[in-house]
């Protein structure tokens, strides 16, 4: 191997090979006809679109292999549009490929850098302009200008203040208060302990007060999942056990990770699985996280029964529900 890397010489552009349509006028005519056919097919597509749009009812279905029952109206206008566009393209490209000149052309790159005279002229002009503005010699103008412009940007930011209210303590509060009845969602029926079988779940909301409407903002914090196990299956400390009632335990349905609804309950394993990022919570251990990215268990709602035997909240949630935030203490 030689030490000097002298490259091979550039042989220049390869010989131009003529196309059939360049040499043979019959081939050229055939290419022209092919282009015309492609454009004509485009027109066919357009007519298919127009016919399907006006004359095919949108409840007509036809059976196609692979696709099954297909809506004829949708297929007609869609394919009509697709064909009308595609064939214009195919025609234009075929025309360019077969009939337009295909001799490669060489153009030369000019140096991007400006000529030295232009560069020095620019520097001179810029310097002169700056001197004429006089900022360098007049620091008072420079500083007061900077201050004014800097301050003038503030209203733009301040105007955004009313985009929304301040969070206040709202993230720590839900509609659940002491004595709030648990009701089914949907249906708003209050629930007795005997309504829920072992191995059953119920989607639950706090009962509405008279005349109150449930908003999506309420649902986003109040949604609760009610699960019934056998009391012996719990592995809870005394306090958390006292938040259950005869094997019924309630958790916030809003995932402590990023807020999706954790409603996927596996009866055999007693695990709750959040379908968004697969955080897995162990119901027997107060929704302790056993897999996945969530860092906190689901908040447990303390429940008991009222005088008529309906399930009620014993107290509000003892922590904020939903995803974490800076001000969250734990």
């Amino acid at each position: 191997m030689s030490k000097e890397l002298e490259p091979l010489a550039d042989p220049g552009l390869p010989e131009h090979v003529h196309r059939k349509a360049d040499i043979d006028p019959i081939a050229a005519k055939r290419a022209e006809r092919q282009v015309a056919v492609l454009f004509a097919l485009s027109a066919v597509g357009t007519f298919l679109f127009i016919y399907s749009f006006f004359f095919i009812k949108d409840d007509v279905f036809i059976f196609l292999p692979i696709m099954g029952n297909t809506n004829a109206h949708q297929l007609g206008i869609g394919m009509g549009m697709a064909l009308s566009l595609l064939f214009i393209g195919f025609g234009a490209v075929h025309w360019a490929k077969t009939l337009m000149p295909d001799q490669e052309v060489i153009a030369y790159r000019h140096e991007l850098k400006s000529a030295p005279e232009d560069r020095s002229e620019f520097v001179k002009t810029a310097k002169e302009g700056a001197e004429q503005a006089g900022l360098g010699r007049r620091p008072l103008i420079k500083r007061s200008l900077a201050a004014a412009v800097g301050l003038a940007g503030l209203p733009a930011v301040i105007l955004l203040r009313d985009l929304g209210p301040l969070p206040g303590n709202s993230l720590n509060e839900t509609s659940w208060k002491t004595g709030t009845k648990l009701v089914t969602d949907p249906g708003d029926r209050p629930i007795k302990a005997s309504d829920l079988q072992v191995g059953g779940v119920a989607q639950v909301m706090p009962a509405l007060l008279a005349g109150q409407k449930r908003t999506l903002e309420n649902i986003a914090k109040d949604a609760v999942l009610l699960i019934r196990l056998r009391p012996s299956e719990f592995q809870l400390d005394a306090e958390r056990l006292s938040w259950t009632h005869e094997g019924i335990i309630a958790f916030s349905k809003i995932c402590s990770h990023m807020g999706c609804a954790v409603a996927l309950y596996e009866q055999t394993t007693k695990h709750l699985l959040c379908p968004c990022h697969q955080s897995t919570f162990d119901v027997t251990r107060a929704a302790k996280v056993i897999f996945g990215p969530s860092a906190r268990p689901l908040p447990q709602l303390a429940i008991t029964i009222d005088a008529d035997g309906y399930l009620i909240a014993k107290q509000p949630f003892t922590e904020a529900v939903g995803p974490s935030f800076w001000e969250r203490k734990s």
């Binding site: 191997m1 890397l5 002298e6 490259p7 091979l8 010489a9 550039d10 042989p11 552009l13 390869p14 749009f53 869609g78 549009m81 697709a82 064909l83 566009l85 064939f87 393209g89 195919f90 234009a92 490209v93 025309w95 360019a96 490669e104 052309v105 060489i106 153009a107 929304g164 209210p165 301040l166 993230l171 989607q203 999506l216 903002e217 649902i219 949604a223 349905k253 809003i254 990770h257 807020g259 999706c260 609804a261 996927l264 959040c274 379908p275 990022h277 697969q278 897999f291 996945g292 990215p293 969530s294 860092a295 939903g322 995803p323 974490s324 935030f325 800076w326 969250r328 203490k329 734990s330």
Partner: protein, 530 residues
């Protein structure tokens, strides 16, 4: 002069008298563009953008971006009398009660997916061929900006109908905003006008989606194209192609016909997809409510990697002094993507800093000739692909009878182990290909024909490569390692310090190439050698 020529002449004269257009029209109609299929990937993105503008404008004539509660009264029976937002109801109206509405919705969404896919393959082409080098660094940054904004624009777009799937995505975006330390809760209350979901988010993102971002796109794409126009397109190395010329076809008529035709083809393919493949069937998802969720909820593909990173994150959160920092959200959701995209944007500068190469480049690299860059690219791709696979882990689990837990662990470990492995393998493959090129130049192409020599030996006849091919395979530069100069003759330490050491290290790695054959070597072999 024919009648047509006279009319054309009058028009041209009219315009030129008012604008002086003749001069620059003449120059630009003759502009030369190199012709290679891999140069059309950016065009797919450009044309998809136009399709998005056209189909999107159509949709705005019926879409109502309001979150006020309505009861559905349209023709889709399974949602009869269901409570929903006006935006969801209007999207259903477009799908079922406006002729061509569903088609345009589908074309719009397919075009968005193709737009992002085209940007990614275009980015890969530009990266692997080194087209981002001087003088095109700024264009590369514009491209990364377009990629980032495209992801945001797509996310906002499919969130407009306020269905269960996209609403879940907004919930997650909200959690990311809320988790930002110090200002998170304020930002989220300002963005949503209060508690989640609020009543103002959809109208606000509507204006971002149809006015702000498209405007920014138009501006950025215009500058992006103008730079390509002015700096002239790069070209692949080959016979007759140098750093100082462009070989190709003129704008008029060839390029106009081919590029113009390709626009119609991209539009046609998108319309074809809109005709035969269902996308975003919002009526099946149902309206968004925070109390519901579907199994197998994913964002659109270009955000799948984000979802995958979030899913595989370890459950890290710190609680200190009455405050919480959710690393399990910030790391995969903001910090790592931020590092990745910043790194991508700065890459041209990083590469030129490490290699010391400050020259202009208009000839593209063949990826095998720059093994380190190619390996780095494949490594990054591997990272993204593993993240994306994890984003779909539940769909993969149901369809291939696997366990999501196993896929998650595979991804957690794989995303650390597999990218470096991919780097090593790719680099070795590049070096092998270089070796193969060297063999081809020195010994010619194997023809598969066996010949028995008079003394009984069997040889395979090799066909010598043409001069053009030999040139293409050897025209590239092979950088030499920059020697590390720790101190000068006087004993003074190198002022560049650690930078000098890094540069020496990386340039040594860059110089690891199979030496290409020189002219003398080739000449030595010319003479019947097999």
């Amino acid at each position: 002069m024919t009648a047509r020529e006279r009319v054309a002449g009058t028009v041209a004269n009219y315009v030129d008298e008012r604008t002086g257009a003749a001069a620059w029209m003449k120059k630009n109609l003759q502009k030369v563009f190199p012709d290679h299929w891999s140069f059309m990937l950016g065009e797919i993105a450009l044309y998809s953008f136009v399709i998005l503008l056209l189909s999107g404008t159509f949709l705005t004539f019926w879409f109502d971006p309001s979150m006020r509660h309505v009861v559905y009264e349209g023709s889709y029976q399974p949602l009869k009398d269901v409570e929903m937002s006006a935006s969801y109801a209007s999207a259903l109206h477009i799908s079922f009660d406006v002729r061509g509405g569903l088609l345009m919705r589908q074309i719009h969404h397919w075009a968005a997916l193709i737009f992002m896919a085209a940007i990614v393959v275009h980015l890969l082409r530009v990266f692997f061929t080194g087209a981002f080098r001087k003088p095109r660094e700024f264009n590369w940054i514009l491209g990364i900006a377009l990629l980032t904004l495209g992801i945001v624009e797509g996310f906002l777009g499919y969130s407009l109908p306020d269905d269960l799937l996209s609403g879940t995505g907004i919930r997650i975006a909200h959690a990311i905003i809320q988790s930002i330390p110090v200002v998170g809760t304020y930002l989220s209350f300002f963005a949503f006008g209060g508690a989640f979901p609020g009543e103002v988010f959809i109208p606000r993102i509507y204006i971002v989606h149809v006015l702000l971002l498209p405007g920014i796109f138009l501006a950025l794409i215009t500058v992006h194209l103008m730079l390509v126009w002015y700096q002239k397109h790069t070209q692949y190395p080959g016979p007759g192609r140098t750093e100082k010329n462009v070989v190709g076809y003129p704008l008029m008529p060839v390029y106009m016909a081919k590029a113009g035709g390709f626009f119609f083809i991209v539009f046609g393919v998108t319309a074809f997809l809109g005709a035969v493949a269902s996308i975003n069937p919002i009526w099946l998802y149902g309206p968004y409510t925070p109390g519901q969720i579907s199994a197998g909820s994913q964002p659109d593909w270009y955000m799948g990697w984000l979802d995958g990173l979030v899913r595989m994150s370890p459950p890290l959160e710190t609680h200190a002094f009455g405050h919480t920092i959710s690393w399990n959200i910030l790391l995969p959701g903001l910090i790592i993507p931020g590092i990745i995209f910043t790194g991508m944007a700065l890459y041209p500068f990083i590469e030129s800093w490490l290699s010391g190469d400050k020259r202009e480049h208009h000839l593209l690299d063949r990826p095998r000739n720059v093994p380190n860059r190619t390996a780095l690219g494949v490594m990054s791709l591997t990272f993204m692909v593993i993240a994306m696979i994890n984003g779909g882990n539940d769909i993969i689990a149901t369809h291939f009878d696997l366990s999501i837990n196993q896929i998650m662990w595979f991804s957690r470990i794989g995303i650390i182990v597999l990218p470096p492995l991919a780097f090593v393998i790719t680099k070795r493959i590049c070096l092998s290909l270089q070796r193969a090129d060297r063999e081809l130049v020195l010994h010619g192409k194997e023809t598969g024909r066996l010949v028995m020599l008079p003394h009984g030996e069997f040889i395979e006849v090799h066909e010598e490569l043409s001069a053009e091919k030999k040139f293409t395979l050897t025209q590239h530069e092979q950088p030499k390692a920059i020697a590390l100069v720790k101190e000068d003759v006087g004993g003074v330490l190198n002022p560049k310090g650690i930078r000098a050491r890094l540069q020496a290290r990386f340039s040594a790695a860059n110089a690891e190439n199979i030496a290409k054959p020189t002219a003398t070597e080739v000449k030595e072999l010319e003479g019947g050698h097999h």
